[in-house]
């Protein structure tokens, strides 16, 4: 509640703001002086080489880990964020549908509501047939999808996603990107999206931060303007391809 009012009165303040945030593990600097501003309703992409600190950044944003120095403001409503971890982490002693229902149980919804929502997302993610299976009876991609469903099921205000589509086939992946984009448009979602797929990031996001390897620093920030474009057209537009190439070049250069 406090958060909410703060947000309303100070809507000019950024939704999430990092100011010179660093993160160390013992004597290893993983993130160095990262500053970013995320406004409500933005979809932010995070790109960078493996091990550069993307997952670490998300845990900082979600408050699961403490920052080592700098300032971090997060004005999102408590309990209204969702997180898709890089690995699925489902509870092995619960079935798929029970796993997905967990956040709703935490939010104390009625049995019926829970069932409705869970079923809806089970269907969206092609998992309905396997809802009674235990995680160990599922394929890698299915587990990851379950983890996505668990994040979406709460209608979150902010969603943090750590390579959610990595283990999915291209067709499913594209469908899910569309799906999430639609949810994003409909619900005024704020998203932070870690991925290795440049095209996906360019398609989904308003802004993309590019990180360098060791220590993780922002080496590029790309604003994407697609407001008035039809999405299908956008995917095939020149802007799209040019942005992709531009990002690739930044990444390639940073590697040398």
């Amino acid at each position: 509640m406090l958060y909410q009012t703060l947000l309303n009165t100070r809507s000019h303040v950024d939704f999430i703001k990092l100011d010179n945030v660093s993160k160390m593990f013992q004597n290893l600097t993983v993130l160095k002086k990262v500053s970013m501003e995320i406004h409500k309703g933005e979809f932010i992409g995070i790109l960078g080489p493996s091990g550069c600190g993307k997952s670490t950044l998300l845990t900082l944003l979600s408050g699961l880990e403490k920052i080592s120095s700098g300032v971090l403001h997060n004005n999102s409503t408590k309990g209204k964020s969702a997180f898709v971890f890089q690995d699925s982490c489902l509870m092995p002693w619960k079935t798929l549908e029970q796993n997905i229902a967990i956040p709703l149980e935490i939010l104390n919804l009625s049995r019926q509501e829970i069932e409705e929502k869970v079923n809806k997302y089970l269907k969206i993610l092609d998992l309905y047939k396997f809802r009674k299976n235990y995680p160990r009876e599922l394929s890698g991609g299915m587990k990851m999808r379950a983890s996505i469903a668990r994040a979406l099921v709460t209608d979150p205000e902010v969603i943090l996603m750590d390579e959610p589509f990595a283990s999915l086939d291209q067709i499913l992946r594209e469908r899910l990107v569309d799906e999430i984009y639609e949810i994003y448009l409909r619900k005024n979602l704020t998203g932070i999206f870690v991925t290795h797929n440049i095209a996906e990031a360019v398609f989904l996001c308003n802004r993309i931060y590019i990180f360098s390897f060791h220590p993780g620093q922002i080496i590029g920030q790309i604003q994407i303007n697609k407001s008035n474009m039809d999405m299908k057209k956008y995917r095939n537009s020149d802007v799209f391809h040019q942005t992709c190439v531009k990002i690739r070049t930044i990444l390639e250069n940073s590697n040398e």
């Binding site: 971890f85 982490c89 509870m91 092995p92 935490i106």
Partner: protein
């Protein structure tokens, strides 16, 4: 179509059931054969070497003593069993509560943990006189308390280590959605601790029996409602070796029964999610 599927499922079900029974049969068969072999060998030895009954009774002597005193044994068994189960129930409740308390509150952990260890390491035998005074000579309660003290520690220790072994990523998931500590306990920590807890329970079952019996050895009840240890003790004093062995045999069977019971409970609870439940 649906009907056929259902029939197929049923068939599948019975097949697995049968397989399970088969496994259980062989798992009974081996030790049973071993037992029969040992008993026969024992009987033979005693007949062959003419070992006197007082030195080592033969299985048939023991059986005889058992049959002759069956009623006494039955009552005593019931008393001992009720002490054991009361103690286990008590220690499950208190042990889990203590483990959770210690897990949740650092202060509790720091302040009382050492005293739980003390409780565990103080030999029951030495506190029975105190207990007798405290519980106004109610021997039954004294015995239950002794058995309880004897068996609570493995439950606390294993439950606690189980709670602490909860998957760190799962904890994060729950935190994200702002789950309350109570909710996390119920839905996350306790299920995570289950296999450890059950392993502790198996140890405790045996300890409760031993605790109760040792306490009875020391505090002694006598009279109408006396347990199996009293019979064992008196048989010893009266030099009735066959009866003593019969009592020992009953204790052993009780032990196996309690162990199997907890093993079975463990199997039922764990079969959904943990592969270590097979047996032992």
């Amino acid at each position: 179509m649906f009907f056929i599927k259902h029939v197929l499922k049923l068939e599948q079900f019975w097949k697995t059931q049968m397989n399970r029974t088969k496994i259980n049969l062989t798992s009974f068969l081996y030790p049973l054969l071993f037992l029969i072999f040992i008993l026969l060998f024992w009987e033979f030895l005693i007949i062959y070497f003419k070992i006197p009954k007082y030195f080592l009774p033969s299985p048939s002597n023991v059986l005889n003593a058992f049959i002759l005193n069956i009623k006494t044994f039955l009552i005593a068994t019931l008393v001992t069993l009720s002490i054991t189960f009361l103690a286990i129930t008590l220690s499950i409740i208190s042990g889990v509560l203590i483990a959770i308390g210690v897990f949740q509150y650092k202060i509790l952990d720091k302040t009382i943990s050492p005293y739980i260890v003390i409780l565990q390491t103080t030999p029951i035998v030495s506190i029975i006189p105190l207990l007798i005074i405290w519980f106004k000579s109610n021997t039954f309660i004294t015995l239950v308390i002794c058995a309880w003290i004897a068996c609570i520690f493995p439950i606390i220790s294993n439950t606690l280590i189980g709670l602490k072994s909860t998957d760190k990523s799962l904890i994060k998931i729950f935190r994200i959605y702002g789950a309350s500590q109570t909710f996390m306990l119920k839905k996350l920590y306790i299920p995570s601790a289950l296999p450890y807890f059950l392993s502790g329970l198996k140890i405790s079952g045996a300890l409760a029996l031993i605790g109760g019996i040792s306490a009875e050895f020391i505090a002694g009840t006598g009279g109408r409602a006396s347990g199996i240890a009293y019979i064992l003790l008196m048989a010893g004093y009266n030099l009735e070796t066959d009866k003593l062995f019969a009592a020992l045999f009953i204790i052993t069977v009780l032990g196996i029964f309690i162990y199997s019971l907890f093993n079975f409970i463990s199997y039922l609870l764990l079969k959904q999610w943990h592969d270590s439940s097979t047996n032992f």
